[in-house]
Structure formats: C-alpha cells, structure tokens
C-alpha cells in the first residue's frame, strides 16, 4: 500500500521483542466501531504518540491499554504477558488522566502516596518516595495542599507524580498538556522528555496537537476513524506520508490531483490539471498506470524567484496573491494561470531582504525529490 518505495517502509528485520504488542484490537460501542483492527508494537523506553482528530478513537485505545475498556476483539501483550482480560488494578501500567482525576479530599502528598499504599509499601518508604517524586516535579512544600488550592500546571504535575511514583514500566498519558497555555506547554513537553529519559519509562501519549507529537515522540501513530494509518518517526511521517490524510494532517501541504503518464522504476511523470503542468518525481511509484494519484508538495519545499530558474522540470509561473509575514518565515499565496492557489513558505534569512510584492509575477520551482505521490 505504501506508495513511496524504499522509504518509511518496515525493513522486516526483527529488533528486540516489543514491550507492548497490540494485535488486531477492535472496540465496538453497539454498532459503532471506535477502534478497528489496530496492530501496534511499542519498544521499551519509547515515547509513542497517538495522533489523530477528535473522535478517532485515541482515548478508547489508551483506555483499553489501561484496562478500563474491554476489547471486543484482539489482544494486548505487555512484556510478553497477555493482559487483555486483566483488571486495571492488576496491570503494571499507570495512567495520567486528561482531567488529572486528582482525589479532591486528599492532600497532594496523600494523592501521590495513594498508589504505594495500595501495594502495602512500608510507611517510611512511602514517605521517602513521595518526597522524591515531589522534588522531581518541583512541588516540594506543597504536600499539605488540597488539589483545589493548586494552579492548573501544579495539578498537572501532581497527576504526573502520582502516575510515576509506582515506577510503572508503561505510562499512559491522555492529552497531558491539554489544559496548559502555550508557554507552559512547551516547558512541560521539555520536562516530560527529560523525565522519560531519566526514568526509562515507556510513554504512550495521546494528543491531537501535531506539533506536540513531533516534539515529544520517538514514533508517531496517526489515527483516523478507529484505524492506524501510518506509524513512523516524526520525520518519516512528515517527509513520507503514506496517504492523503496523513500528508494533510501533519503540517501544511499543497495537495493536487494527477494522473500517471510515465511510470519508470527511477522516475515518474504526473499530469496535474490543477497546476497546468507535468510534475516530474525522481522516484518510482507502485501504482497501476493511468491510476488517479495525489501529489503532495510542502510549502517550504517550493522556491520563488524573480528570474527564470535553470532547471527545466517542475517550473511554474504565477502571481503573488497574498503575503503573510510570520517573523521567522514569510508565507505566500501564489495564483497559477489555472487559478489554483499554491502555498509557499520562504525563510527570512536576511534582515534587509528584498521581499516579493503583491501582484508580482514570480517563478516557482522545486526539486524533483520533493513531491510525495500518494495513491489513497
């Protein structure tokens, strides 16, 4: 199914045994299929991000890992043990809830100690481990506060401490940073990665914020309508999306329809009516000839110039229809003779750059390795 040959495809060689293995997991609510035939392998010490739009089944998948939902079909293995039917209170897994779910009638220290008390840990050890956790999340001195006496960011850190204090091998986080403002969010993302490295815990993080996923994840699983469309490193997902949805969902992209007119193992030519041109791509595509395909070109991979570029393939002309200055880059909207609008992003390298003006005629070109051809 993968349209791009030799990139982002499983090489087939076996690494170490996966820490979490999910096999054909399905969850139905009545007639509605919330999670459909999901298979996944997550390695020890990974930060795995589940990314997808609202209602695509991320939380449901996570809740099945935690044991709050019973799968309709399929199995979950943690460290080689089938835990599909194990109740949540017996799983070696802890979860940080989207709403934090702190116990309102307990103090910060009691909240953090709760999990250890369930295991019958000795009092002295509980105290020292709670202290250790609280200093890890920088909440010393807040032991006696109740959750309602804390700020949102502090509550979030208590929730994290409570989930980590039992030293789980697997930590599930459901939109852990959803309630935080942008600055605090970025700071906490950094802290989370630090913590993860320090403790060696495997993280599975649910988010619908693609930037967050790119920042945190060692690998990302993109979900849509209960299915996992693609799994890969952030760079894989961004540079080699395997479908229109993934290309569109991650980052910004120009998506045009096309038809394969020349299909060689080392290059293809695609006729794109919307561009009024033929796109030359320097890698092969595994698709039947004449099949409809989509070509995805990232805005930052298109270059603008006043002079005609030297290359002959992948050159277009257009008129600047809109300019947005973003500080680090400038975003242009270029109208092609066909009327199609292309998004182009150009970095602002020099302070006194001579910028393009609205209504100016420009040349556009891109490298023949830049377009991604997707067949679904």
């Amino acid at each position: 199914m993968n349209a791009v040959v030799g990139a982002g495809v499983e090489t087939g060689q076996k690494g170490p045994a996966p820490y979490v293995r999910i096999e054909r997991l399905t969850k139905r609510f009545g007639d509605f299929v919330a999670v459909r035939q999901v298979s996944l392998e997550i390695q020890r010490g990974e930060i795995f991000c589940l990314l997808g739009g609202s209602g695509c089944g991320k939380t449901t998948l996570l809740r099945m890992l935690a044991g709050f939902e019973t799968p309709t079909d399929g199995a979950i293995f943690i460290d080689g043990v089938d835990v599909t039917q194990v109740p949540p209170y017996e799983r070696p897994v802890n979860m940080m809830f989207q709403s934090y779910a702190l116990f309102p009638h307990m103090t910060v220290a009691q909240n953090v100690a709760f999990g250890l008390k369930q295991d019958g840990t000795a009092r002295g050890e509980i105290e020292s481990r709670v202290q250790e956790m609280l200093s890890l999340v920088q909440l010393n001195g807040y032991e006696k506060r109740k959750p309602h006496q804390l700020s949102g960011g502090q509550r979030q850190r208590v929730a994290l401490a409570r989930a980590l204090v039992k030293r789980p091998k697997l930590l599930l986080l459901d939109e852990p940073l959803g309630a935080l403002d942008k600055k605090l969010r970025e700071h906490t993302q950094f802290e989370l990665v630090n913590l993860q490295e320090k403790l060696g815990v495997t993280f599975v993080i649910v988010t619908h914020d693609q930037e967050e996923a790119m920042t945190l994840a060692s690998r990302i699983g993109v979900m849509r309508a209960g299915e996992i469309l693609q799994v890969g490193t952030p760079a894989d997902i961004y540079e080699f999306p395997n479908s229109r949805f993934v290309a569109d969902f991650i980052g910004s992209v120009n998506m045009v329809e096309g038809r394969l007119i020349e299909d060689e193992p080392d290059h293809v030519r695609i006729e794109c009516a919307q561009l009024g041109a033929i796109v030359y791509v320097d890698h092969g595509v595994s698709s039947p000839p004449d099949a409809p395909v989509s070509v995805a070109i990232r805005p930052e991979k298109i270059q603008l110039s006043r002079e005609r570029p030297e290359q002959t393939d992948n050159v277009l002309q257009g008129v600047i229809a809109g300019i947005a200055y973003l500080g680090n880059a400038t975003r242009y909207l270029v109208r092609l003779p066909t009327g199609f609008l292309l998004r182009v992003t150009a970095p602002n390298v020099f302070r006194h750059e001579e910028r393009l003006e609205p209504d100016e005629r420009v040349w556009l070109h891109w490298h023949s390795s830049s377009p991604v051809v997707v067949t679904r």
């Binding site: 935690a66 949540p88 809830f97 779910a101 009638h105 409570r162 039992k166």
Partner: protein, 325 residues
Amino acid sequence: MAALALLLTGGGDAVSVSAPAGTRLAGRFAAIRGALGRRAVIALPYAWLAVFFLVPFLIVLKIAFSNIQLSMPPVEPVMVWTADHVLQLRLHFSNFTFVFGDELYLAAFVNSLQVAGVSTLFALLIGYPMAYGIARAPGAWRNILFLLVVLPFFTSFLLRVYAWMGLLGRSGPINALLMQLGIIHEPVQLLQTDFAVYLGMVYSYLPFMVLPLYSAIEKLDLTLLEAAADLGCRPAKAFFMITLPLTKEGIFAGCLLVFIPAVGEYVIPALLGGPDTLMIGRVVWDEFFGNRDWPVASALAIVLLVILAGFVLLLQRVQAQEGEA
C-alpha cells in the same frame, strides 16, 4: 440586622469620586436602586422565615414561661399591666424544672433519640445502596427508579401508615404468608411493637435519605474511581476510600433530614407502637390535648428544639473542620 447595617453603609462605594456631578448623581441613584433591589431579594426569604418560623417559635416560648389557668387559651398572660400602672413580666421557670425533674420525660427524650438514631442508621444502610443503584443505572432506568422513590409522596402519609397497620395485623398478609410458609404456626404480634415503629419510621423517611444521597453520588466523577483502580485499588476498597468520603455531604444531609423529624414523630409511634412506646412527640400531644397543660407541652417542645439545634450545630462544626483540614 446584618442586612440593615449593609443598607446604611453600602451602596455608595460603587460610585467613583472623580466622575462629573451629573453622572455621579445618576450613578449614585443607580447604585442605590441596585442595592435596594438586591436587599429586597435577600429580605424575602428572611421575611418568610420570620413570619412562619420565628413568630410561632416566640409564641411557643412565651407559653413555655407561662402558667396554666382555666381559660381560653388555657394559659396566664406573661405580661400584665397592673392596676398601679406597672408592666409586669412574669416568667415561670417551673415548667422547665418540672420537665427536667420528671424521669418520665427524660426517658421519653432518650427513647425518642434512640428510636430516631436507629431508624436513621437503618435508613442510611438501606438508602445508600438504593441511591447508588439509581445513580449508576442506565439513563432511562434512572428516571423510572427515581419516580418510584418519590411515588409514595403522592398518597397521604397517614394513609400509608394505616396501610402498614393492615399489613402487620394478626390476620394481615404478613402473618398469613409466614404461616403458609410454615415458619410460624400461629399469628405473631407484629403491630404495636418496637419493630413496627422502626419499620414505619424507616419506611416513611427513606425517601428523605435517598434523595440527597442520590444527588451526591450522581455528582461523583467516575474517572476518580478509574484513577483509583489504575493505582492498584480494588473496587471494594475504592468505595471506602473514594466514594464514601466524597459523598459525605449527602450522608450528613440525608441523616439530618431523617433524624430531625423522626425524633419528634407522633403519628408512627401512636399508630404502630404499643401503649408503652414512649416518645416525646406522643408526650407533647398528651400534655397538650389530654392534660390541657400548654406550658409543659411548650417547655418540652423548646427542650427538644434546643437538643436538635445542638445536633445540627455540632454536625456543621465537624463538617467545617473537615473542609479546612
């Protein structure tokens, strides 16, 4: 008092000093009108309480310090305007010394508190699982179950207690069923026993227990229980560590709503209890209608009120302390 003081001092602070005279005047007017409106809204429930609670209470209090006399009403006036133009206030404390001196009254108080306490406990033990079941029932069922709890209120309370008399009688269906099953061979005395009183109490006051409990349990965030399970807490333990403490307010409210009317209950012990079921409500009734001794009846009522108010204050104090800690 507080409202009055606010009225005298408040209102003006909403007006800025630097504003020009015209707007300042208009602003002041608007502020005063707003303040008056707000106070009127607050005053309404106070007025209601004053007319329907405070005034009757003061009348009872007055009678409690009065003396019995053959007239209508059968009490001496407390304040007398004597022939030599003296306003005399005569307070008879004898009613209270009489009440505290007689062991019968003391026993009635103790017995009432005990019956009410035990009934409250049973209502809680039965009501909590009921409320829990309703709160956790699927949507459509919840409304039906809720309706079933309040359904008894659609018929008269008296009628329902009479119905129990029929059910518990020697030839009633309960005795008949027990005999059919061969558990007993001749009818047993169910009516006019303490058992019947407890049964009637729990039956009658159960809805008052279930309703506040239901609203407390229904409010409970279920993810807290998931969080507890996630941290290794078994469901049964989670109930005692999470659910119970977080529905404490509902338990307090339900217990007060059952306990307070149960202490002064008259109808249930009178109809279902035996001749030796001694409860304060019945004693007050007897003093009032049997002996026509309004002052002693009133003194009993005042003592009861003080005891119950003490209970409520104590509970509030406990609750406030727990909220702080």
